[in-house]
Amino acid sequence: MNNINHNIESPKEKQNRHKAMEAIKLLNTLREDFKAPISSMEYFYDLFERVHCKHESLHDDKTKIGTMCIQIPSEIIYALDGVPIRLCNGFYTDDEIGSDLMPQKACPLIKATVGHFASGNFTDKPDIVFSPTTCDQKTKAGVTIESFGYKLIDIDFPRTKESEASREYWRRSVKQFAVELSRFQGKKLTRTSLKNAIKKIGYAQSLYHKLSEFRKNELVPILGLDVFLVTNAFFFDKIDNWIEATEKLLSELEIRAKEKITVSGKASPRIVYTGSPPIFPNYKIPLIVEQSDAIIVADETCSSNRMFNDMVAVDEWNIYDMMDSISDKYLKACTCPIFTKNEDRIRRVIQLVRAYKADGVVYQAFAGCTVYEMEQRSVLEAMEKEGIPIIYLESDYSPSQGGQLSTRVEAFIESLKNRRRMKK
């Protein structure tokens, strides 16, 4: 046996190579497969390539605060001189690693997140991880992650949001989070630092809102896929770089809008995307949608719209008021299906359909993401009542399955085109 000369890759090398392949495949598709590419998107393509293919670290000089969900307030992390790194993961390679550690039917997002921790392949390894007790699987995943030697702190999150009690409860949790982080950082939370952090994130949010306005145009100047990439970059990018790149993108979109340059076809149906979050590089369904001559004009997902939609509304810039306002943004405005009732989410989807003049809704749930799977019923019923066409799709991170899914998506899009023709 010894005469056969070949190298055996270490698991880490193999995983990194597979992840780089997943990343570059998607990035090249985005760069090459669509008409009228936007030149300022190159910053974002390049960013993902640097991190996932060239394994470049972005935050060597800072303490990296890992977050397991959007509910951990970035404002407080920045105010305490840390960098928030959102660890929700979209890699199939990590999903496969996590499959050995989680139940078979668990959600791929959480399997991939756990798998990522298990592999330890971080370009920016989190120094501490905060895990809000949102969905069951994320809540329980904390213990598994701790067992690999990471420092992880649970943050209590309520599963109802209507009552005053739950609001109080969450405000206490956010205070507790600030205390824990301030202890870890050895720094005090000050009025000025918190105010500056709120302002900075608020500014980033305002850029997202401007970006969204362009998507209301009849001639849409940017792909939904590109917007997902921009918002996903906010998970880990240096915030100042992100702001600069997004400003550039906005000025290019301004020109494109004037010159009537569009990425969509003549009759491309406009889609609102909702459900389990598309996280780089798992853009499977958005890719099928936009490759089937439809255009995603808005979304209601936690990896994109939900991160930016609602601002922290402060009355008095004192620290207590700021803390309460931050807490409210992450609870009251949240439309995650983990909550008992979720009329807010239905309202938001309908509102997006109206505001962005969408022809239909694509609702995607990860197989194993029980809450999104369950909420499908009420959302579908509500859309039917409103006369809004909707398709429900179940998918996971596996690269196969494309054929069947694209048949369904294409048939849905063809039916939307037909509806439009009939209306005329």
């Binding site: 054929g403 069947q404 048949t407 369904r408 294409e410 048939a411 063809e414 039916s415 037909n418 509806r419 009939m422």
Partner: protein, 272 residues
């Protein structure tokens, strides 16, 4: 004379249909998809044209559909099999009446499609996770029972007992279930009718998701099996319409679409 071609490259079979300008069926051909979708599709088309004595130049417009639709680059257009199926069913059943619901069982998936009064697809449901309750499943069952797929119907109607319950419609698990039933001395006839009823129950569940509206149209290769048709009618409590050539509804739909697309094309473009 202009002819129009619909090519349906399915998981199991390639179906090609040729129509004339009046959307009338001129001829069709069915071949196994095998491992080389594109090559076999081209060969099938050529042999069909030879049989019909039609030259390539007389083909005005071609529409491809089915899983392999994107592989057939020569097509002028490609369309999902759901839309093609809907169009084909309405055209094929024109004399029978207005079709509102379509059941399609293919080689590796099954679908229920619901149409509005204009014939647009309003909703559809698909079982696309595995070969459960599809044509492939019937193949496996027939092989286990050592009978031909075309004999399934005869066996179904000869069954005298209560149809046996086959709880699994998974092609792999059903095999062991059928061996179990044979082991407890059940007749092949009763097993066959049990299999048909288990598929029927599954498909009716799918149809209920989109709503059952009359008339109901049933197509796909397994629709040739009268025993299965009987079981579905019983489970549905309604008569269903099966066209003369149920395998080619979708490719026929693609050809009909080709006619329409050609007619809607500006004169200038038609020259090329």
């Amino acid at each position: 004379m202009n002819y129009f071609v619909g090519i349906d490259i399915g998981s199991t079979a390639i179906k090609i249909t040729v129509t004339d300008e009046h959307k009338r069926l001129v001829g069709f051909k069915i071949n196994a998809s095998g491992s080389m979708f594109y090559k076999y599709a081209k060969e099938t088309l050529q042999s069909l044209l030879d049989e019909l004595h039609i030259s390539q130049d007389d083909i005005a417009y071609t529409v491809a559909t089915g899983y392999g639709r994107k592989l057939f680059k020569e097509a002028d257009e490609n369309i999902s099999e759901i839309t093609a199926n809907a169009i084909g069913a309405q055209e094929a059943a024109r004399e029978y009446g207005e079709i509102k619901t379509i059941i399609n069982i293919g080689g590796q998936d099954s679908k229920a499609i619901s149409l509005d009064s204009e014939g647009n697809v309003v909703n559809f449901a698909m079982n696309d996770r595995c070969a459960a309750g599809t044509g492939k499943f019937l193949d496996v069952v027939a092989m286990n029972l050592e009978i031909g797929v075309d004999e399934l119907s005869d066996y179904h109607f000869k069954s005298t007992g209560t149809p046996l319950s086959i709880s699994s419609t998974c092609a792999v698990f059903a095999e062991s279930e059928i061996i179990g039933l044979l082991g407890s001395n059940h007749s092949v006839e009763d097993i066959v009718s049990g299999v048909h009823y288990s598929i029927a129950k599954r498909i009716v569940k799918l149809v209920k998701r989109v709503g059952i509206k009359e008339n109901v149209y049933f197509d796909g290769g397994p629709a040739l099996n009268a025993g299965l048709v009987h079981a579905i009618e019983n489970e549905l409590g309604k008569k269903i319409f099966v066209p003369e050539y149920p395998q080619i509804t979708t490719s026929f739909g693609a050809a009909v679409l080709a006619c329409d697309a050609f007619k809607n094309m500006p004169e200038v473009e038609r020259e090329f």
